[in-house]
Symmetry: C2
Subunit: 298 residues, 2 copies
């Protein structure tokens, strides 16, 4: 890419939306140079937002991790995660009492912070036994099943979640994300999509909403805060089917694929120009951004 | 159906293949009249075989349950289950050392009986923790993941099974069945298909074999024992997508839907004549068979 094109591209962007896992960190390791790239963008007057399908952390947890791992200051308002978004979705859809949740403590906290009573945590200690479950076990006040990555997923919990959806009255199914895998430190492990899919199969019901990327719920939360001009916004991500499609569907002018996570350049080139999976730009690592930009931009 | 047609149909059948859950029993209750119908069929010289997608029991367990619940004598050779069939599939495909299993004790016993060492039982007590799993946790001697209904399914076990398939060398994926639900005593609960689907999503690999109905593995086991004439065989089942399709694919001349389980007559009529989901005959209950036949046949 010639210097003039880089400058034109950079001048055309006000806001960078950064996916987190696979972009600025991988599990518990920072991507080298990511902090410097964020600081560089901010020093050039760009807004930076953190947009993550990972539902296991609260927005506050993200602020802490950004500080601890990257030394980056951020506010909760700069972070939007699928857990926070699921809680907001509930509130906006009249779900204000109780939910049954399969998820990590971060998701539970976001639901609690939105005023919801959360059933499910602790249920992994309960064994499933044939003939023991009855519809009478279900709390009639539960208005939704909220599901995402759950390291404590168990057959009993899956059966409870599926039963609320099958036998409960008007119970909604809110999923944080459908990511099939999660890039853990040493290997890919099953992602939130595995939990969501298990409930879906067991209940015979598709989610009423999957709030994570590529759904537009997170973009709407960011847009409703004001100041986001879609045609001057760049989505930065490592997954074609979540991040890049998210940017395309949202009408963001720029979708930058980084190669430090799930997909590589060959994956991207399988899609024809114009396909929502096709990034507008590719860079080896977000951590390289400052190094690429500085000689051109200053 | 006029008496002459009933007689012609009955005279044309030598062997009745009976699904179990939803046909002769529902969870821990016998279907009323089922024992009498089985005895009646045998008294008329018909062979009866028990053909179940339920992987949670050994063939010996089926023999015991038939005796205890219905007072019916049967031999292990008259029973074929998806657990037994999965074990036979392994042996026939050179899987003779170790497998990682998600399943109930009955499946583990069938695998052990086939000479296989089984990893996985007990793993539900292990918690998943971020950053703790490594490919080094995997036993290099594991040749297959065998999965079915698992009341002790846990995120850790799903992650282990998926990791064997993703990182193990030449590891096969053998599923007992894909039944989305299981008719437990008081309600539908998630079935083996939920466990299989979770591993599939997490590993990115479809099963190399799903040995349960509608796959033909169980029919091949029955046929290899000799004496089964497909055009003189009737499959009796409560599920269109497993039992009835199994019979159609296997070239069985008669596929009898009973309404004591999953599907009803309206479900069947959604499929046009000739579709493999469409039963050739429908009866309210297998327990009614003797009552319907006796006035005509004697």
């Amino acid at each position: 890419m010639p210097a003039s094109a880089i400058k034109e591209w950079f001048d055309g962007i006000d806001t960078f939306l950064l996916d987190c896992d696979g972009v600025i960190w991988r599990a518990s390791d920072a991507v080298p140079g990511a902090a410097e790239s964020i600081e560089y963008l901010r020093s050039k007057g760009k807004h930076v937002r953190f947009v993550s399908n990972n539902s296991t952390k609260t927005r506050g947890d993200y602020v802490s991790k950004l500080k601890d791992m990257l030394g980056i200051d951020a506010t909760e308002e700069e972070v939007v995660s699928s857990g926070y978004t699921a809680a907001q979705y509930c509130v906006r859809h009249g779900i204000t009492k109780k939910v049954y949740c399969m998820g990590m403590p971060g998701l539970v906290k976001e639901l609690n912070a939105a005023g919801l009573e959360v059933l499910g945590p602790g249920d992994h200690t309960k064994a499933f036994s044939f003939g023991k479950m009855t519809p009478g076990d279900l709390d009639p006040e539960v208005q939704a099943v909220v599901a995402g990555f759950d390291g404590h997923a168990s057959f009993y919990k899956i059966a409870m979640a599926a039963s609320y959806l099958r036998y409960g009255k008007g119970v909604k199914f809110v999923a944080t994300n459908r990511d099939a895998t999660f890039p853990d430190t040493h290997m890919l492990v099953p992602g939130g999509g595995v939990v969501v899919g298990a409930i879906e199969t067991g209940s015979g019901r598709a989610p009423d909403a999957v709030v994570g990327k590529p759904s537009q719920d997170m973009l709407e939360i960011l847009a409703s805060a004001g100041g986001l001009v879609r045609e001057r916004t760049c989505m930065v991500g490592d997954r074609l089917d979540t991040d890049i499609v998210f940017g395309a569907r949202g009408g963001l002018s720029s979708r930058l694929l980084v190669l430090t996570g799930i997909n590589n350049e060959a994956d991207a080139l399988k899609y024809p120009a114009g396909d929502p999976h096709r990034p507008t730009h590719v860079i080896a690592s977000f951590g390289d951004l400052k190094r690429v930009l500085e000689p051109v931009i200053g």
